[in-house]
């Protein structure tokens, strides 16, 4: 086996190598606010008007949503025509957590800690989630030169000042406690010999506050949280997906209709409080983009919550990670962690020019890459045109062996296809990475439906219209714990009335009256990659 690059790519690499020393000596200029705005407007996929349409039913009526999401919001319920016995639930608990990723697991642990009878249902296995795939790190303002207010400013700026301030406040002021909690659960953060956390920059950070566990940060956190859930004896019902929220006659969330994903058996879970922690939507493949997301990331929670009457926020903004794999085919769309750029790797075009600063915020960086390729300066590969990420710079800057030690996952991923990223640059292009928007919550974690809490990527508003690297791992812990604590407390004062699914029928009627005719059913549950 040998390096699978074409002659043309190898010729271009020579130009990248020729400019490397000079580039290492000169940090590229950062863009001005006006330059960024102009770039976003012209090249960011969120500004591609043709890909959005108006929502015509439900709490966000009149607003825009991606066409693919809108179709799911307007689709038929999976329980349409089914006779569901709500009188004899298969499960009965105080806190029902839907989703077994980082947010759901954190919530379950805290609900358990609060003394609540908590249960997790999850579509695949516990830990099968985007959390597991978060490579780069988790932000928290815990260094001497940093502060929660400094973190606040970075979050707001990154989110284009559209973030919900109260949620940002919670994120940044509870950030250090979240990292501390993980540290005490036994997460192996990168520390020096004195215990000082090794922290780096992420795109758009003004302080080095990215904590990491090599480039397995999310995996390490998820392994520990999963272990802790099991140690606590919290029931985890796997391969079981929630397909509708159940309410009681007063309109409070009161459980969920479940489906065994393998046997298709329908079951009912009754609960005094419900936490949606279903994650993101990359597998919807908005605008045809490949994705770095987990197999189960299909926006299920948004659909469930919306039918139950919860309002969404910023459902029209997605994050395209600047550095998805553009070549080779086997890992097309997979994530190349931002930490690669945090550690010094620059973007280069086919002529070896560093056309922009490597650590602009993700929306700006992704748009910059798209523009450079559109200008004809991309690297032509057998798969698609992309941009070089000059990874050999990492060892050149920090010393030989650094990339292997700090980015073992990335190195392994590429070596499987005979690309040694220590020696040659890699080709990247933006990949669909994160759902910036989601279900609107108040700082106690509750959606617009009483006793329906939300945590993690399914939430909208924390990150405004663009999330910074490392703030998602942080938000799943901060808001996951918060939802678990709040629901764990609230459930003790809840008296449930008679259970009902009338809201599902009412929503279907609204769709019908709006003239919507569709064969589609939702939530989607899984993508379908079978050969058509």
């Amino acid at each position: 086996m040998s390096l699978p690059y074409t002659e043309e790519m190898l010729e271009s690499i020579k130009k990248v190598e020729a400019t490397r020393a000079e580039r290492m000596a000169n940090e590229p200029r950062r863009m001005t606010a006006d330059e960024k705005d102009a770039l976003l407007e012209q090249y960011h996929p969120d500004y591609n008007q043709e890909s959005f349409e108006e929502i015509i039913v439900g709490p966000n009526k009149g607003q825009k949503a991606p066409k693919e999401l809108n179709a799911l919001l307007q689709a038929n319920s999976r329980i349409k025509g089914l006779d569901i016995d709500l009188e004899h639930p298969d499960y009965d608990c105080e806190v029902l957590v839907i989703g077994g990723g980082g947010a759901g697991s954190s919530a379950a642990i805290e609900a358990n800690e609060a003394g609540a009878d908590v249960m997790i249902v999850t579509k695949l296995r516990i830990g099968d989630a985007n959390t597991m795939m978060a490579e780069g790190g988790i932000q928290a303002a815990d260094k001497e030169n940093d502060s929660p207010q400094q973190h606040y400013l970075d979050v707001m700026g990154g989110g284009h000042f559209k973030n919900v301030p109260e949620l940002v406040k919670k994120l940044v002021t509870e950030g250090p406690a979240a990292v501390n909690w993980l540290d005490h659960l036994g997460v192996l953060f990168d520390k020096d010999e004195n215990g000082v956390m090794i922290t780096t920059h992420g795109g758009g950070t003004s302080r080095k506050r990215m904590h990491a566990a090599a480039d397995y940060s999310g995996a390490e956190i998820m392994r520990v949280l999963r272990d802790e859930v099991i140690n606590r004896g919290i029931p985890v019902i796997e391969f079981t997906v929630a397909i509708e929220i159940i309410k009681d006659e007063e309109g409070k969330a009161a459980g969920a209709v479940l489906m065994n994903l393998e046997t298709k058996e329908i079951m009912v879970a009754r609960a005094k409080t419900v936490i949606i922690a279903t994650g993101g939507a990359g597998r919807i493949h908005y605008q045809g983009f490949p994705t770095s997301n987990h197999y189960g990331a299909t926006a299920d929670g948004l659909v469930l919550a919306y039918r139950a009457g919860a309002e969404l926020l910023y459902q029209d903004t997605l994050q395209y990670h600047p550095t998805g794999v553009a070549f080779p085919a086997q890992i097309y769309g997979a994530l190349v962690t931002e930490k690669v750029r945090s550690m010094g790797a620059m973007f280069c075009n086919k002529d070896g020019e560093a056309f922009m600063h490597p650590l602009e915020t993700r929306d700006v960086a992704a748009s910059g890459v798209i523009r450079e390729v559109a200008r004809g300066n991309g690297i032509h590969t057998p798969l698609r045109d992309g941009i070089w990420l000059d990874t050999p710079m990492i060892d050149a800057i920090h010393g030989e062996g650094t990339l292997e030690k700090r980015l073992p996952g990335m190195l392994r991923m590429y070596l499987r296809y005979d690309i040694d990223m220590r020696k040659v640059p890699i080709v990247i292009y933006p990949t669909l990475h994160y759902q910036n928007g989601g279900i609107k919550i108040t700082p106690d974690g509750m959606s617009g439906v009483e006793n329906l809490y939300v945590a993690g990527e399914a939430v909208g508003g924390i990150h405004g219209r663009n999330r910074l690297m490392g703030n998602s791992l942080l938000d799943i812990i901060v808001f996951g714990r918060n939802a678990g604590q709040q629901a764990g407390k609230k459930c003790k004062e809840v008296t449930l009335g008679k259970l009902t699914l009338a809201h599902v029928d009412a929503y279907a009627k609204e769709c019908e009256e709006a003239g919507i005719v569709t064969d589609l059913v939702s939530p989607q549950l899984l993508p379908d990659y079978r050969r058509k």
Binding site: M133, M156, N180, L185, F189, G195, H294, Y295, Q330, I331
Partner: protein
């Protein structure tokens, strides 16, 4: 014309493009995966798989999402394997040598066959990290096992019935919680926040108008 290969999925022959991963070969052949598919990028361990190339004696462990198909590859997925996970309270246990003896005594039955290491989908030195665990060298065990995705292929091959990924996870948690030095700056910051040290500054920045915030943001000093 795309190069094609023959693969045998659970023994049944399918002809698929040679560029596909094993996971994509299943999908190309018409499988809608529910089990044995997770992150699709080598981090979650859901797609543990064993294969053999026809005519070769060597059995290989791999992740279906991260392994390219080859001609005459015989494939079986292992979507679930009964690993033994012991229940403990991380607050109550301590990183003593005895704790492994109590929770995972079977590691001392290791016969040194090294089948675990040969089967590892991450090319980890599995038998070596079990040896570290036996000796109570948890930090070394943690470091050597760090890239484990807990797919469990190692354990399918173990004649002593060891659940290697669970042993490693325990060693990592012990190392993270008890052996690595405390992050004092973090402890201090958590305490300061709880004591309201930053309350005024946070309230002040929250009181700024968007224009004031923009101005602060565009002129903020970025740490070198």
């Amino acid at each position: 014309m795309e190069e094609m290969v023959n693969v045998y999925l659970y023994g049944k022959k399918y002809t698929v493009p040679a560029s596909l991963t094993i996971m994509e070969a299943f999908e190309y052949s018409g499988y809608q995966l529910v089990r044995g598919c997770g992150c699709r990028n080598g981090f979650c361990g859901a797609c543990a798989t064993i294969y053999r190339i026809k005519g070769e004696h060597m059995l290989h462990g791999c992740l279906a999402c991260s392994t390219q198909v080859a001609d005459n590859m015989y494939v079986a997925s292992i979507p679930y394997f009964p690993l033994e996970k012991k229940i403990y309270s991380i607050e109550e246990i301590k990183p003593t040598e005895q704790i492994m003896m109590q929770l995972y005594p079977e590691i001392y039955s290791c016969v040194g066959c090294n089948a675990c290491t040969k089967a590892c989908t991450q090319q980890l030195k599995v038998m070596q990290y079990i040896a570290y665990a036996q000796r109570g060298e948890y930090e070394k065990c943690a470091e050597t096992s760090f890239d484990c995705v807990m797919c469990g292929v190692c354990s399918t091959r173990c004649p002593a019935g060891i659940s290697h990924p669970q042993v490693a996870l325990l060693a990592r948690r012990l190392t993270g919680k008890y052996i690595k030095p405390e992050a004092k700056h973090l402890t201090q910051r958590v305490e300061d926040i709880a004591n309201g040290v930053f309350d005024d500054a946070v309230a002040e920045i929250m009181g700024k108008s968007v224009d004031e915030l923009k101005d602060m943001y565009n002129n903020r000093v970025i740490e070198k």
